[in-house]
Amino acid sequence: MTTISEPRAATALPPAPRRSPAGAVLALLWAGAAAVLALWWFGTGSVAGTAGRLTGAGRIAGLLCGYSCAVLVALMARVPLLEERVGSDRVARWHARAGRYTVCLLLAHVVLVVAGYAAQFHASLVDEALSVVLDYPEMLKASLGTAVLLAVGIVSARAVRRRVSHEFWYYVHLGTYAAVFLTFWHQLALGADFVGNAAARAAWYALYLGVAALVLWFRVLVPVRLNLRHRLRVESVHREAPGVYSVVVRGRGLGRLGARPGQFFRWRFLAPGLRWTSSPYSLSAAPRQDRMRITVKALGGHSAAVALLRPGTRVWAEGPYGALTADRGEGRKALLLAGGVGITPLRALFETLPGDVTLVYRARAAEDLALGGELEALARWRGPEARVLYALDGPHGERPSLGTESLRRAVPDLAERDVYLCGPRSFAEDLYVSLRAAGVPDRRIHHESFEL
């Protein structure tokens, strides 16, 4: 076991439950959409004939699409309010969902506007499309941007995403910034709601410049400052279980990062083959003044190469992110449910959550229990209010039951506990059903998952 697992005062974090701002953020985003519709409503006199209806619908789709492009970028701008309070995983799911919707709006906008103009000018769809692209101001740029946005949409579709590498998906995705920039100008030059309306133009500029400022600040300047300040390097790599490795990272003044147990960073190891990818890995121990530790399961590609990292390798980190933290809890009793390598953030929480904490650790076999020795040591040190239970496969490979009854038997006061859940999607979904059946309300089931 590693040397940095010595326990820290468990009462360091007083429970101070904070409500998630997710509802308020969503309300704000919907209000923005309503404002965009109002812009159309008050800027439009009458809708005449088929052509007018087609063009009108196309304009509504276009306005909403322009708005949602800004929202999509803002959601991924790594704003602390979203990353640490709403939760990175949740925001990523919003982004994915809104992204699919935006691609549909984009297609609707293109088809409806071209069809509307064609009907108006009694031209064929092809002629009208060509004329729109070639003759109208700013439309060449916008068409290029549209092509990029559609490519991003295709690459992100679940079926395609599974077949392409993470790097390919990521770098195509970066094209979104260029696409949003390219399509911005036709909105102002041709958008009937902006041409005669200086206030609307100003609001649109404010929206896009505001989002650009968020991206520049939180995705560029904040990480640069973090890495210049803390100078992170790999200190050591340890094997925890078959295919599971811990990486200890050393840096200066890590206390100032404000990282809390249960959170993660996006890590980029400046080593051959790893340099171009940044991956989210949770801290598997409460951060110390000069060291942090992550634990990684070698699933292939990036995570497998982590096992071969040399001490001294420079590290580029962004974070802390994630909302699976102690302040989500409402009471002084917690239940941690870990599936496989999902143990990592829960191991850090097991060290620091105040009060009565029970950890249930699901793994196939005893040798797959990463960090098991540490957990035992922590439990002994914390005394009777901390327990570790294991759910392992039986001698003939039969899976242990994690149904409502067995959970209740293992943890009789289940319904009074805050539940922190981390593991593969199917594991988490099954447990969610059991927990609900056992009377644990939604607001006390805290979960993090990066599967969209």
Partner: protein
């Protein structure tokens, strides 16, 4: 909804599409359909800039051909969202015999496309109606509005 609740993507797609389509249809249906509407509330109110002194360029009888008593009158220049619109009418024997748009938006290709079909239709309508009480051409609301106002000011000046 909790993130771990079993998700039904198909239902969500159907719901989102239905909500979007019906929302759009509703918005479009609630707007006045077609003809006689005035430009949108946020549009700069079209103003007849030189209405009373309309015969500024043409002047009453400026190009009157003595034999027929035909004369041309130019209406006021009306500012629309897309640019100024100005109309000149030819009057002979108390009847409007010709309507010409002397000024209309040409700022971008869309304007040109609109004008190429909207202006002839407005002219035909005006000649048939012998008044400025004509239908808005769909897709060319602002130009139509400006056209009608300039036409009205020309007719007023001509005493029709």
């Amino acid at each position: 909804m909790h993130a771990l609740r079993k998700d039904r993507p198909l239902r969500r797609i159907v719901l989102a599409s239905a909500a979007t389509v019906s929302g759009m249809v509703l918005l479009l249906a609630l707007k006045p359909q077609g003809a006689q509407s005035v430009a949108g509330a946020t549009a700069p109110a079209p103003s007849v800039s030189s209405a009373p002194s309309a015969p500024s360029t043409g002047g009453t009888g400026a190009s009157a051909s003595p034999g027929t008593g035909a004369r041309t009158v130019t209406g006021g220049e009306v500012q629309t969202r897309w640019g100024p619109v100005q109309v000149r009418v030819t009057v002979a024997g108390g009847k409007v015999t010709e309507v010409t748009a002397v000024e209309y938006p040409t700022g971008n290709p869309r304007d040109q496309q609109i004008n190429s079909y909207a202006l002839p239709r407005l002219r035909t309508e005006a000649l048939a109606a012998q008044s400025a009480d004509i239908d808005t051409v769909s897709g060319a609301t602002y130009t139509s509005d400006g056209y009608k106002q300039s036409l009205q000011s020309a007719l007023d000046s001509a005493g029709l």
